[in-house]
Symmetry: C2
Subunit: 212 residues, 2 copies
């Protein structure tokens, strides 16, 4: 990243700053000055700040979704072998596709996702649904196959519960690990946290339905 082009330097810097402080709290001046480019470069190359935000997400979501799509296609060819654990592992593997080199990019990715959801500016929600809604539906359909005892609608809700737990955890991974280290004198690796999260999610998705 030492002497990359202007566009990439902007994207590299923007995704870090956005993840650290949020979208509205990160000014174009902060991005461009830290990236070592001119202030006008953002509007020249991307058109606007909104477009820059979307470009940052595209750089994450395109490899993530294409990888996920491919893996889901593989699974569809052998429907009997589809389990919750395999589907969740598929997500994990897809997330690896976004970390080109640095493993910390996965954390940034989820941190941004959390921001996108909570700040939910109108344009981002539309952007997600239009560009990546397809893959998400595909995943949802497969998950419904994996847990035939759970009605599709219940699967829908539980996926969102799981999504919340995941985004929340991975977006706050470092602070949480620090608390764990100080309270229990145990240093967990991100991978170990991930394992714990996955068993929690599997347990939740398979849980007994509430008495209606």
């Amino acid at each position: 990243m030492a002497q990359a082009g202007t566009v990439d330097r902007i994207l590299d810097t923007a995704e870090v700053l956005f993840a650290q402080k949020g979208f509205a709290e990160t000014s174009l001046r902060a991005i461009t000055s830290k990236a070592g480019v001119n202030l006008a470069a953002v509007n020249y190359h991307f058109g606007s700040k909104e477009a820059l935000i979307q470009a940052v997400f595209e750089r994450f979501l395109n490899p993530f979704c294409s990888r996920l799509d491919g893996l889901l296609a593989e699974l569809e060819s052998d429907p009997d072998s589809v389990t919750i654990e395999r589907l969740l592992a598929t997500l994990s593997q897809s997330a690896v596709a976004v970390q080109r080199g640095e493993p910390q990019r996965v954390a940034i990715f989820f941190r941004l996702s959390g921001l996108a959801y909570s700040q939910a500016q109108g344009h981002l929600r539309r952007f997600f649904r239009e560009h990546y809604g397809e893959v998400f539906s595909r995943f949802l359909r497969q998950l419904a196959v994996a847990v035939p005892d759970v009605p599709p609608m219940e699967v829908f809700w539980r996926v969102h519960f799981a999504l919340g737990a995941t985004i929340f955890t991975l977006s706050g991974m470092d602070p949480l690990r620090a608390i764990c280290r100080s309270d229990f004198a145990v240093t967990l690796s991100p991978q170990q946290v991930n394992d714990r999260l996955l068993s929690f999610l599997a347990g939740g998705i398979r849980a007994a339905l509430p008495a209606s």
Copy 2:
């Protein structure tokens, strides 16, 4: 809320606008004009925008935590009866304390919590830990008693997983219910969503530990 004092009118309006659009995206002018008060009133009564944000949280968290503290004290007198379900129900009951009249205030409360967590870089994190860390530790200790097979550190992580699922779900309650309605032609009440969430959480907290 028709002709309340200036301070309350500001707080009432601010909490709604903050929940809708976030902290940075909500200007004091938007708050004061909608509240029907003068722009300078915020700085006069609260001192700054940061102080207003904290005041909004205090109005939610003080009744919530004092109610929660009281209920936890009751539970401590009879440790044998403490189960996950009872603890989660305790949280639910405490949340009811924040909705003075309007039931939708619970959603606002969690929406704000989600915002606070995702944007939490400086003053809010400190504010939470200093003012409400005590009650949280107390809850954590009780939960560890309720699931003796799960080591305390695992409880710690699972509570945060559950916290993420809860905040994520309740902060996006209305959009999620809309999707559910359009995709499954089923209209769930917030209470029904809550029931589903609770069984998901109980299943996750009780799930089998990952093979280490």
